[in-house]
């Protein structure tokens, strides 16, 4: 007996635990059209970014080998990776924000998993195996020569596409040039990269040829958070029960607008019946809207029996997009954006650090006290730069500075370590002197300071300069 869909068990898992292959029917409509358009743009961006040069590097190039991360001409060094905190939390929070307003539009329209599955792999399947009934027939058919040929072609194409996607992914980390030279060499020479691409190829193949909606329904944590992220005013995909129920034949005057044609169920890629209300499995793809709209048009009934609307809206109320939750989220988004703006602006093109040279705190030769330091300068820009080094502090008379006199030329993203030797006559040294090293970019006059250093010497505090006078301590 065929079990009808309910909200307590998965439509994509049979009662014996085996996976039910879902074959969504073809659907045409305005949302499908725009989803295809969006997916093409996104696929174009994904494939195109590593090919577009900005400032001599690919538009997005996560150069893990040299620990430099290029985003549209901005080169981020490892030292600036803390910016990633804002990027990741910002992306995560944006997802929350959008979900509170419009439900899971991310899943249905832009998630890479959906884009690859719906607009690449399912297209291939549709092309090789035909429409949904034909695919179901082929699944049930015995292994004839024709079925074998179709299966080999389909899975071959899946593997090919998976390999392409995996290679594009790899090119984000090694650049197209690096990828091409790696592809010319034997796999053993770049075993890690080769292994990653092979793993990704088979992971993508397995995910999109077989695992499919199981990932969204069972593994992806975002869908599980849906109930916490949406409320009665969040716009989701819903069925207008008031208008649709009771279901009945189109000719039945007592029945609602739903004619129980089951089109919305047939087109659903996660195997649910949207008429049971918002469910965990719903990825907000809007296929059921297009399906229902086309049926309603044929019956000359108003569209929108299934539509983007909030729970309140579906009950006949008015959807409020401005509500305490969204106001609070908006404030947080603005604050986060401002913080991110400050953070990005605070990234300096050069980094300077200094440490005392190992060996001794200070050296005494003759009547001179000497301190030795390492000064490390890192040019984070992807163009050569010239730097001027100077001392920043209240330096004593007679200080002899060695090691900072010359200009420091650094190649693009180069770094250098200089030795700084400070000598001061013993007589002029009267206690430790705090100072910093200032590194100035000659072109832009932008400068950075190292952390604080100290000029040390024989401790003069141990010999009090002033005799203790009890009067100083008594008022």
């Amino acid at each position: 007996m065929k079990q009808s869909l309910n909200t307590t068990s998965l439509g994509s898992i049979n009662s014996d635990g085996s996976k039910k292959n879902i074959h969504p029917a073809d659907v045409k409509g305005r949302f499908m059209f725009w989803r295809r358009a969006v997916s093409l743009v996104l696929l174009g961006i994904y494939v195109g970014l590593p090919w577009i040069p900005v400032n001599g590097f690919p538009a997005v190039f996560l150069d893990v080998l040299h620990r430099r991360f290029h985003f549209f001409g901005l080169a981020i060094a490892t030292q600036d990776l803390w910016l990633g905190f804002f990027l990741l939390t910002g992306l995560g929070f944006s997802l929350f924000y959008i979900t509170s307003l419009f439900g899971r539009v991310w899943c249905g329209w832009t998630c890479p998993y959906t884009v690859f599955l719906e607009h690449v792999y399912r297209r291939i399947e549709r092309w090789i195996d035909g429409d949904a009934p034909a695919r179901r027939r082929l699944d049930a058919a015995p292994w004839t020569a024709e079925k074998i040929v179709r299966r080999v072609i389909k899975h071959g194409l899946y593997l090919l596409i998976s390999a392409v996607i995996a290679h594009v992914f790899m090119s984000y980390f090694v650049s197209i040039k690096g990828l091409y030279s790696m592809m010319q060499a034997s796999p053993g020479e770049h075993f890690l990269a080769f292994g990653v691409v092979v793993f990704l190829t088979f992971a993508l193949y397995g995910a999109f040829s077989w695992f499919r909606e199981q990932f969204c329904v069972i593994m992806c944590p975002y869908g599980r958070l849906q109930s916490a992220l949406t409320d009665d005013h969040s716009v989701i995909i819903g069925y207008d029960q008031k208008r649709g129920e009771p279901r009945g034949k189109a000719s039945d005057p007592d029945a609602g607008d739903c004619i129980a044609c089951n089109r919305c169920v047939q087109v659903c890629p996660t195997g649910i019946d949207i008429r049971n209300g918002l469910q965990l499995e719903c990825i907000g793809c809007a296929a059921c809207i297009d399906a229902c709209d086309s049926v309603m048009s044929k019956l000359s009934r108003p569209k929108g029996l299934i539509r983007y609307d909030s729970y309140t809206g579906l009950q006949g109320g008015k959807t409020r997009l401005v509500r305490p939750r969204t106001i609070f989220y908006s404030v947080l988004v603005v604050l986060g954006t401002i913080a991110f703006g400050f953070a990005v602006n605070s990234v300096k093109p050069v980094r300077a650090s200094a440490v005392r040279m190992p060996g001794g705190a200070y050296f005494v030769t003759g009547d001179e006290v000497r301190n030795q330091f390492f000064v490390r300068v890192i040019n984070k820009l992807n163009e050569p730069a010239q730097f001027r080094l100077s001392l920043d502090g209240d330096m004593p008379e007679g200080l002899q500075v060695n090691g900072l006199d010359e200009m420091l030329d650094l190649p693009a993203m180069g770094e250098a370590q200089k030795t700084l030797v400070l000598s001061v006559p013993k007589a002029a040294f009267s206690g430790k002197i705090p100072f910093k090293v200032r590194v100035t970019d000659v072109d832009s006059e932008m400068s950075v300071l190292t952390s604080q250093l100290e000029l040390l010497g024989p401790e003069s505090e141990s010999t009090p300069t002033k005799t203790l006078n009890a009067k100083d301590y008594i008022q």
């Binding site: 068990s9 050296f363 060695n402 370590q417 000598s423």
Partner: protein, 211 residues
Amino acid sequence: MDNPAPKDQDPNEPQLRDHVYDGIQEYDQKLPNWWLFTWYITMVWFVIAWLAYYQLGYGKNDSEAIEGQLARIEAIRQKDLEGIDDAKLWELSRDPAVVEKGKATFLATCVACHGPDLSAMMAGAKLPGLPLNDQEWKHGGNPLNVLGIVRKGAPDVTKGMTAWEPVLGLDRVIEVVAFVMSHHKEGEPVTLAPDSPLKEENAAPAAAGGS
């Protein structure tokens, strides 16, 4: 089996188990087979990993892996050092490419104490380092003596010549020594400075041999 499902249960819904606690009942649903299969793999993997790693000792723990890598680095360093002797260093000091690289490093790191012309003088002022362009040496004038001092630092730590091998790495240290030796000629006379520790060392074995 003994207790059939409640009569009022919706035939479309999965079966309820008869166990009730605090009024809560569970559905009797099967987990997805792929999920169960993944779980079984973790069990099999646990047995393999437990046997191999904890019982039979295959695989290294983190500290062993780190020590292995450090030993590998040390072996490479030793191998690099094997080919280095006085003749090789003199040869490198005549190789303009090596000397040029050494010069760049020298001008960034050593110049602060030894001066750009190795005289340990800068604009008439004495720099902290020892002059390297004359034939008087404190720690010996053979290229290997110089290499030893640059690598390990001066024996007297109060003087300030630090060990450069941890900072620059062996390759760059050798380049710097090649640059320094390019200011000298093979076979030129070497005199030891009056305060050279080598003088005592040379004297001590002689005294010992005489007794």
